[in-house]
């Protein structure tokens, strides 16, 4: 098991970060800290995904003259192909890009919600907010 963990050190690290984020999101009462936890969690997943696409000794998937892949016209005509052994897997990069945009959107939304919650209840402690809400409901 240990050798597996050491050879997959990026994944191991990302899972540990994921755990930190998960616990923060689940257990911290402060909404801002919850948002930080959520960002930790998402970032860990992107690290995980990005490390899945990496292949040792290869470069980013953009046609590069440096590696002798310069005959773009021939590639477009279909008479030659770029050397696949030069490039890493492009799929995770696309997925991470999508994931980052989603995570930015959710962060903005959650932060805006936190602003409104603070204005309504004068605290960012979710437990306190819930108990204030229950009290108000019972008073009605």
């Amino acid at each position: 098991m240990l050798s597996g963990l050491i050879s997959n050190f990026y994944e191991t690290a990302s899972i540990i970060v994921f755990g930190i984020g998960f616990v923060t999101l689940l257990l911290n009462r402060n909404i801002i800290k919850k948002i930080i936890g959520f960002n930790f969690m998402d970032t860990a997943i992107y690290l995980f995904l990005a490390s899945k696409g990496y292949i040792t000794g290869r470069i980013a998937p953009i046609v590069s003259e440096r590696l002798g892949d310069a005959n773009v016209v021939a590639y477009q005509a279909g008479t030659a192909v770029p050397n696949i052994n030069n490039y890493v897997n492009p799929v995770p990069a696309g997925l991470v890009l999508t994931g980052i945009v989603v995570s930015v959107s959710f962060t903005a939304f959650f932060l805006a919600l936190a602003v409104r919650l603070y204005r309504a209840y004068n605290t960012l402690d979710l437990h306190k907010i819930i108990s204030i809400m229950n009290k108000e409901e019972n008073e009605e």
């Binding site: 953009i62 590639y75 192909v81 770029p82 490039y87 945009v101 602003v115």
Partner: protein
């Protein structure tokens, strides 16, 4: 279960339900109940549901911690069984899809950046959804924070703003004067070269958004509003995403029905090439720039 029995009793002579409910309501609001007056289930539900008791809270914490530890332990244990890092023979890296993206990418899409070709041509539907997420989030933040002002409020604020306008830093202004055009230019460069080099709509748009934010910080709200206000923001976003959706609708329809497409891929490696990828990058870029500036502006002063 006692409550169940009570409810059953009430069910038998239905009228009592309302009265008993009224009674409990009164009890709740008046004095603190004595211990023996409350039933066991009431106490337990009070403990759990209100979440105010220490016992319930620590129980929740303990359960949550145990759950989290189990999940993370499982995941770490799983990682040790996964294919090794960086291996070219891993299932994900050796699949036919990866091979096709790299070997046929330029032929199919005309983009020398395989990632751009993948997200804006092969898997454009995903990216359409992704841009929609950004659009929706911007709208959601507007819902939460945008303040719809009356005309009087607007007047009062503009007077206030004029008063503070002059206090912007001289160094900041001169620095911004140099930096903003350069940053905007760089953003546009990244945007327009998305299919040739690293970059594309999302990164270019973010850089442009940063330039707008810097301009706003240095020169104040009023001068920004001359060329960029809420309506322009809205219109740009609608046009950008609307064009994206329509062009993709055309591309999907043509592709699925095996019809000839009017979109040509051009000569790969030149700036005007790779079919729809360039216009889509531009659309995405402008949408991202508007959204980023919108986020900043809404969080800062609840308007755009």
């Amino acid at each position: 279960m006692i409550n169940v029995v009570e409810s059953l009793k009430n069910f038998v002579n239905g009228t009592q339900l309302i009265e008993s409910k009224n009674e409990t309501e009164i009890k709740d609001s008046t004095v603190v109940k004595k211990h023996h007056e409350t039933s066991f289930t009431e106490r337990v539900t009070a403990l759990i549901e209100k979440g105010e008791s220490k016992a319930a809270r620590s129980a929740y914490t303990v359960v949550a911690v145990i759950m989290a530890i189990i999940i993370i332990g499982c995941l770490i244990y799983t990682v040790s069984f996964l294919p090794h890092f960086g291996g070219a023979d891993n299932p994900a890296n050796s699949s036919e899809v990866v091979r096709a993206y790299i070997e046929n990418g330029i032929h199919d899409t005309g983009a020398t950046n395989f990632v751009a070709g993948m997200i804006l041509n092969y898997r454009a539907f995903d990216t359409l959804g992704e841009s929609s997420v950004l659009f929706i989030a911007a709208t959601a933040v507007i819902i939460l924070l945008f303040r719809h002002k009356t005309k009087e409020e607007e007047k009062a604020e503009s007077v206030e703003e004029e008063f503070y306008e002059d206090k912007h830093d001289v160094i900041l202004r001169h620095g911004a004067l140099i930096l903003v055009p350069v940053t905007l230019m760089f953003g546009l460069y990244v945007l327009f070269n998305g299919h040739l080099s690293p970059g594309g709509g999302f990164s270019g748009g973010t850089i442009m958004g940063a330039a707008l934010i810097l301009y706003n910080l240095a020169f104040g709200d009023k001068s920004t509003k001359k060329f960029f206000n809420y309506n322009i923001n809205k219109v740009v976003k609608i046009i950008a995403l609307g064009f994206y959706a329509l062009s993709q609708a055309y591309a999907f329809y043509v592709g699925a029905n095996h019809l000839p497409s009017i979109i040509s891929n051009g000569v790969a490696g030149t700036i005007l090439s790779s079919g729809l990828i360039l216009p889509l990058n531009v659309c995405v870029g402008f949408e991202v720039a508007c959204t980023m500036f919108g986020f900043y502006s809404l969080f800062d002063r609840e308007e755009i």
